[in-house]
């Protein structure tokens, strides 16, 4: 704060008054100078946060007019095509919001778009966290909170779009009921308790309503609060770069920079949602008509975040067991439980698996570039493909319609792809990561191609390379590779097996460890095997000049893929 700024008396007085009572200056002083690292991908979580704020604002407005009741009324509102029809009050009041409340349609559409954006932002934010390894110690709990938020978001969305009681959302609720009934032992009871008797009953709308407007938003709000407090307390991660270490944060301070940027971002997101709500119609419930369990329309699709469940249901073959007078419907249970368990359970489990496989218990505040963690990146891409196939299968009828591929063929392709796709994705991604690591090594050793061609005295043409400067080298050199553990079945000189690699679990761990530790060695972050540690000046390997021959300057012409089967240099 500069001496040249005069603080107005009113502000000064208020500030003093507050601090005398709440001791606020001490904490706020630190908060004002809290440093926020600058990277575009750090704004993804913010999209989710601001979407949630917009959901609360628009949702409150909608709640002023929505009537959460299944009681039948005869409609006599402004939408004349449905005039005289008997419908639930929920549906009638949603029509009312759309056609008789000024700005009602805008609020409805912003609310719906914001829900979709919230879930999309959560997914992309989680992918960013995963692929950069931001979930590692000390941030595992925040990663789990994020998964909890995603799960709650799914439920919140499902219950929310079921509220208007239109034909489309009614179909979703019917499927929900069918799945609920399929749960062994308690399914029938759960369904009867939730719907207050046989489906659809007349109490499900008020029940969904209170869960949608109070219970789940309250939980989401609590989890977001915890998420943010933990993030502030643990401080941000940062991308690798010059001057960025595990012990610092480089960026811009909260006040005034981040406040201004965060506010601008909020307005942009709100503006984007308002534009969508203006020009892109979403959930036109008046076209679907009031819900009737007798009717259905073709190409019924849920909102995109439910697509994975919808696709799983469509993909599943008709498996069912009858035994001892009981029915277990795998054609419902597996789609309901398995995909989300694989994706979300796997995500929750991963940080601990990685710690176990790498033996890495240290703090990680500098992020990994995805290429530098091939196994993680490949696993992530496999999960993306797994999710993507299920998601696309959720619209198999639309795909079949567009591509003119027969519907059953589309489903069969998906049934194969769900197993083959992730495996291919894993293999290809891992190869790409290793290829990119080779490119990094190439850049560090030979610098950038300048496009300048020179002729040597003996007539040979070469391209001049420019060495990377310090700032360009820093992110490349920040690569860290997990330490190798003893090989499976390895023994010390006395024939005692290495304790970590002992037993089946130990062998599995050693194999996993080998996969994680695979890397292309850089001459500067010396993994210790072979050539010098290269912490010398960068010019050492990267002279510009006519004397440099690309071939002769490679000190080791074989690709230095670090083979985990070799004896680890750290172990003796």
């Amino acid at each position: 704060m500069s001496d040249t700024i005069d603080v107005p008396k009113a502000l000064s007085g208020t500030g003093s008054w507050l601090d005398d009572r709440f001791h606020g200056a001490r904490g706020l002083r630190v908060l004002m100078r809290k440093v926020f690292p600058d990277h575009w991908s750090f704004m993804l979580g913010e999209i989710a946060l601001w979407s949630f704020v917009i959901l609360l604002l628009t949702g409150t407005f909608l709640a002023l007019f929505f009537v959460p009741s299944s009681a039948p009324v005869v409609y006599h509102g402004s939408y004349v095509k449905l005039n005289g029809l008997t419908m639930s009050q929920a549906y009638a009041s949603t029509l009312n919001i759309s056609f008789d409340v000024r700005a009602g349609l805008l609020m409805r559409q912003i609310h719906h778009w914001a829900a979709d954006l919230f879930m999309a932002a959560l997914i992309i934010h989680m992918l960013r966290i995963f692929f950069t390894g931001a979930y590692r110690k000390p941030r595992e709990v925040n990663w789990l909170i994020g998964i909890g938020l995603f799960t709650l978001g799914l439920l919140e969305g499902l219950f929310g779009y079921s509220l208007p009681d239109d034909q489309l959302s009614g179909a979703g609720l019917r499927i929900f009921e069918g799945v609920l009934q399929g749960i062994p032992i308690v399914g029938t009871y759960l369904s009867f308790f939730l719907f207050g008797g046989p489906y659809p009953g007349d109490i499900i709308i008020p029940r969904l309503y209170i869960v949608h407007v109070l219970l789940i938003p309250g939980l989401i709000l609590a989890l977001i609060t915890a998420h943010l407090f933990i993030m502030v307390h643990q401080k941000h991660t940062q991308m690798p770069g010059l001057g960025r270490t595990e012990r610092n944060v480089v960026g811009q301070p909260f006040f005034p920079y981040f406040i201004a940027k965060g506010t601008a971002w909020f307005f942009f997101i709100f503006a984007a949602l308002a534009l969508l709500a203006t020009f892109a119609q979403i959930n036109p419930i008046w076209l679907y008509g009031p819900y009737s369990p007798v009717q259905i329309s073709s190409a019924s699709q849920p909102d995109f975040y439910m697509g994975i469940l919808e696709g799983s249901l469509r993909m599943m073959p008709a498996w069912e067991w009858n035994f001892l007078g009981h029915t277990i419907s795998f054609s419902v249970l597996i789609p309901f439980a398995v995909p989300l368990t694989v994706v979300l359970g796997g995500a929750a489990f991963w940080p601990f698996f990685e710690q176990w496989a790498t033996g890495d218990r240290s703090y990680h505040n500098v992020l990994d570039r995805p290429r530098n963690a091939p196994i993680r990146t490949a696993t992530g891409m496999a999960a993306v493909v797994f999710y993507g196939v299920l998601w696309a299968e959720g619209a198999n009828d639309v795909i079949a319609d567009y591509t003119q591929i027969p519907l059953y063929t589309v489903t069969w392709i998906a049934r194969v792809l769900i197993f083959v796709g992730p495996a291919i994705a894993f293999y290809v991604t891992r190869r790409i990561c290793i290829g990119l690591q080779r490119k990094d090594r190439e850049l560090l050793e030979h610098g950038l191609e300048t496009g300048i061609i020179r002729q040597l005295p003996d007539g040979e043409f070469i391209e001049v390379h420019r060495p990377l400067d310090e700032e360009e080298r820093a992110p490349l050199e920040a690569k860290k590779v997990p330490a190798l553990m003893p090989a499976p079945g390895s023994e010390d000189e006395n024939g005692v097996p290495a304790p970590q690699a002992h037993g089946a679990l130990g062998r599995a761990r050693a194999i996993a460890n080998r996969a994680f530790a695979e890397t292309i060695t850089l001459e500067t972050n010396g993994h210790g095997n072979g050539h010098g540690n290269g912490h010398g000046p960068p010019e050492e390997h990267a002279e510009i000049g006519p004397g440099e021959l690309p071939e002769s300057s490679i000190p080791h012409s074989d690709p230095l893929l670090w083979h985990p089967h070799e004896e680890p240099p750290e172990q003796s």
């Binding site: 704060m1 001496d3 040249t4 005069d6 603080v7 000064s12 500030g15 630190v30 440093v35 402004s78 409340v101 349609l105 019917r174 499927i175 009934q181 399929g182 032992i185 399914g187 029938t188 009867f192 308790f193 207050g196 046989p198 489906y199 643990q234 401080k235 010059l242 001057g243 270490t245 944060v249 811009q252 301070p253 005034p256 506010t263 601008a264 307005f267 942009f268 308002a274 709500a277 203006t278 369990p293 007798v294 259905i296 190409a299 919808e310 249901l313 469509r314 073959p317 008709a318 007078g325 029915t327 277990i328 419907s329 054609s331 419902v332 789609p335 198999n396 489903t411 400067d469 310090e470």
Partner: protein, 368 residues
């Protein structure tokens, strides 16, 4: 302060304005909170040892030369936002709703003005921070997350002391009765949910179809004779007489009625555990009635393809062959659509011969 890690700007990298970095000097007297006029506690010593590292933001004189241009742009954005905001209010007051066209007009005006107002505010704030505020890059040291050994030891000590003082471990009778006391309390939130609904009983096994109950055409609610339903390939939705508006009933009892050409309909006689569940004897003049509720998760099986006699559920594409007893030919549905036994009454109208002989709709645990 001299040991603060210095981060060098991107020298020679062609960046227009290298981040300005100033290593801190002691902060001036904080003026925002006054000069300690009414606290009198200025001499307190506690906390002085954990001064956060101070870096100063650049002075105003370091502002780029184009600041006045930027200032005008920011002000323009804010004025635009003001005008658009006023436009929203004007559109709200001026534009009526109450018909499809007027609602879309109102939505366009309100949405557009709101968007412009928000975009104006967003760009104003962004240009402000990017162009007017001096570019800085600060380095903040991370604190150790792990508490000091002394703190951890003290915590251990207090915990052990406290546990000992409470005698929680030493007095098992207190401990066990406490746990016992919490058990019913923990169960109460579950128990009190009991009245959310009745027990299912056998209600999922039955529908309202009973001998002699007429089939009514959905929509017109009129009974129908085989003669009125004589065009082969025709298919209509049927609801039970007396329950045409009862959604709970319709969710189970709705039926699809299909007329076939002679010879096309060939339903094999199928029994399940001694109960007849499908037979040609339940058809009338090549008219057959199947439950409309999908045996997968309960969507109405709404699509009928005349040429192939396929019934298709649009939700998950379970496909049934209507000509052979609605057997499953594709998709996740585990069994055929139940067949409703048909006959005609004295007036010649189509009626049910009995209820379905098996539960309709999705599988459930007790179904067997």
């Amino acid at each position: 302060m001299s040991d603060m890690e210095e981060v060098e700007g991107p020298e020679g990298s062609g960046a227009p304005v290298p981040p300005h970095r100033v290593i801190g000097t002691p902060p001036p007297t904080p003026r925002l909170l006054g000069s300690g006029a009414d606290d009198g506690g200025a001499a307190d010593g506690h906390g002085a040892e954990v001064e956060p590292a101070e870096e100063k933001l650049p002075e105003v004189s370091d502002y780029p030369a184009h600041a006045s241009n930027a200032e005008k742009i920011v002000a323009f954005c804010f004025v635009l936002a003001f005008i658009a905001g006023c436009g929203f209010i004007a559109a709200y007051i001026g534009l009526e709703v109450g018909s499809v066209d007027s609602v879309f007009r109102s939505n366009l005006a309100l949405g557009l003005s709101l968007s412009v107002a928000l975009v104006g505010l967003g760009f104003g704030a962004l240009i402000w921070v990017r162009q007017l505020m001096p570019d800085v890059e600060m380095v903040e040291e991370r604190h150790e997350l792990r508490s000091s050994d002394a703190d951890r030891e003290a915590f251990d000590e207090y915990f052990v002391e406290g546990t000992a003082a409470s005698q929680f471990v030493k007095r098992p009778m207190v401990r066990r009765t406490l746990l016992l006391a919490t058990l019913p309390l923990a169960a109460i939130p579950i128990v009190v949910l009991r009245d959310m609904g009745p027990l299912p009983g056998t209600s999922l096994r039955h529908t309202v179809w009973s001998p002699g109950r007429r089939l009514l055409v959905y929509g017109t609610n009129q009974p129908i004779t085989p003669a009125e339903f004589s065009a082969p390939g025709q298919s209509i939705t049927i609801v039970p007489e007396g329950y045409t508006d009862d959604l709970d009933v319709l969710a189970k009892a709705t039926v699809t009625l299909i007329k076939f050409r002679p010879g096309e309909l060939q339903i094999p006689t199928v029994s399940n555990g001694g109960t007849l569940i499908g037979t040609m004897n339940w058809t009338v003049d090549n008219i057959v009635a199947y439950s409309r509720i999908c045996t997968h998760v309960g969507c109405p099986v709404g699509l009928y393809e005349q040429t192939t006699h396929h019934l298709l559920c649009p939700c998950h594409q379970s496909t049934f062959d209507a000509s052979t007893g609605a057997t499953v030919i594709f998709g996740p549905a585990p069994r055929p659509l139940p067949q409703l036994p048909l006959t005609t009454d004295a007036q010649g109208y189509l009626v049910a011969k009995s209820d379905f002989t098996q539960p309709v709709g999705p599988s459930f645990w007790e179904r067997g």
